[in-house]
Amino acid sequence: MTEVSIERLTKTFGTARAVDGISIRIADGEFISLLGPSGCGKTTTLKMIAGFEEASEGAIRFDGKDVVNVPAEKRDIGMVFQNYALFPHMTVDQNLAFGLEMRKIAKPEMRSRIAKVLDMVQLGGYSERFPNQLSGGQQQRVALARALVIEPKILLLDEPLANLDAKLREEMRVFIRDLQRRVGITTVYVTHDQAEAMTMSDRVVVMFGGRIAQIGAPSDIYERPENLEIAQFVGQVNLIKGTIIGAAEAGKRRVASVFGEVAVDSREDYAPGTAVTLSLRPEAIELRPEGQGGAAGKVTARYYSGSIIDYRVALDSGETLHVQTFPNIRIAEGDRVSVHAPADGFWLLGAAK
């Protein structure tokens, strides 16, 4: 059971700072995701935790012990790679036994541990198969089993679902999350897929350009993003211009906008009269037939995708909104609509630029 503490960790390649002084404390048993676009330093961070990449500066502590100078093979980590990295010349059983052999585990214990883990990943009958006789999802589970069978201090996953098709990816998210809960292992998960990070993690670390943009629970990141970049990275967002009127109840500001006066959640204080940008998530918006109050507008496009309908709505005030609703309302392209947004659908992103 391990607590991981990363302190001012930096990695420079020449003059480029791939990872720029990041600090994260990961609690024992916590599932943390490093989320960001490619090149944001998330994979480099993971490699430094694993020991495949040397840290230029800073410390990585496992339970208080700095491991920066400990080689990868002595760090006691379990790692799952994007391409699974199963040994193609070994059977599933041999793949799983490899880490146990390195630890000089006695044969009988080895057998029982392999059987237990294979059972856990639901691959009981597959121990004599070679990796290329397995499907992508099965290979993925073998990779997980191989990382877990050595009972490592920390589990590291590097975009493990990137090579799977959409349906399997969703299944595996739940599978990995449940498995991690059951084993209770401290886990660091690298992904560029915000939905993956949200569904699986206790906390998400959003990274841009080698730095941490925000750390928080998935709901925090999604509902209270620190800035526009984060808001846009973790989902679709409508930007609404507003003007501060004054303070409202606890932590809220009264803001005037095209939707009238609303009390909006905010992290910071702004003087009355300040022009601000509000974010409004597409799924928070409600469309009603014309003449029912709210902001008036016209549907310019409608995209039906089964579980939801996407609308583009041009407000009479000139703004264009992206709206997502359940398909139970029947509003057609070209219809005039009343657009309603509840106060808690807004978030005050910051002063307008």
Binding site: F52, A72, E73, H89, F98, N132, Q133, L156
Partner: protein
Amino acid sequence: MRAARRKGLGPLVLIAPAAVLLGIFLILPYLNIVVMSFRMPGQGTPYGPGFTTGNYTKFFADSFYLHQVANTLWIGLLTTAICLVVGFPVAWQLARGTMRFRALAYGLVLSPLLVGIVIRSYGWTILLGNAGLINRTLTGMGLIDRPLPLMYNALGIVIALVHVFLPFMILPIMAGIQGVDPSLESAARSLGASRFTAFRRIVLPLCTPGIQAGCILVFVLSLSAYVTPSLIGGLRVKTMAVTVVDALIDTFQWPWGSALALMLSVTGALCVVIFARLTRMKWKVARP
């Protein structure tokens, strides 16, 4: 119907040119050699009338020739072993090194192939001879009193052959290593294997086909090399290939030369088979 016929003929048409070439220029001459090796020696002609096994009894009766076969095999083995030891690290760097290094190293590896084999072998005689560059430099520096025997012996032949055949070792091994996903090493190390263990247990078995190909190529090429051994070995050290050419062209004994050539082929092939069996992969990549 037509589609099916085309499908059946397609592969045949594709391999036909190669098959014809091989048939005319390899299989037929080989058969001719086999027949020739059983003919009677001629009197002033390349071969005489009638057939005999005498060429082979002569070969096995005279320890001189058996010794020469052993010598040739030994030179081949040594050349292959040195090429492997010298070539593997280069192949590794070529496969895994940085791009800038790779371009330069590629050029260096391929450069011996750009110069004709005769010229290269002459170059070695200039370097290795008693009055050659190496010996002159060493005597000049006072390190040795007498020239080192570098030419007209097996050592000289091996040195020159290594130089000539090194690319044939490096390129297949490089391809083999390139076929091994670098993340497999990372995976092995994350499981607790040292760099060396990761190499031995994971990388080495997976690039065995490349190593096999390189070794077989260099070994076979070394056995059949003629120009380099004849220039550097001179009259003192002869490999089988040199003796075969002597018999066929200089002394005009076609049946005897054919028998010698066949014995060289057979022993070489035997060695390759034994090598392949010994280094046979213990795993098979099963297809789903």
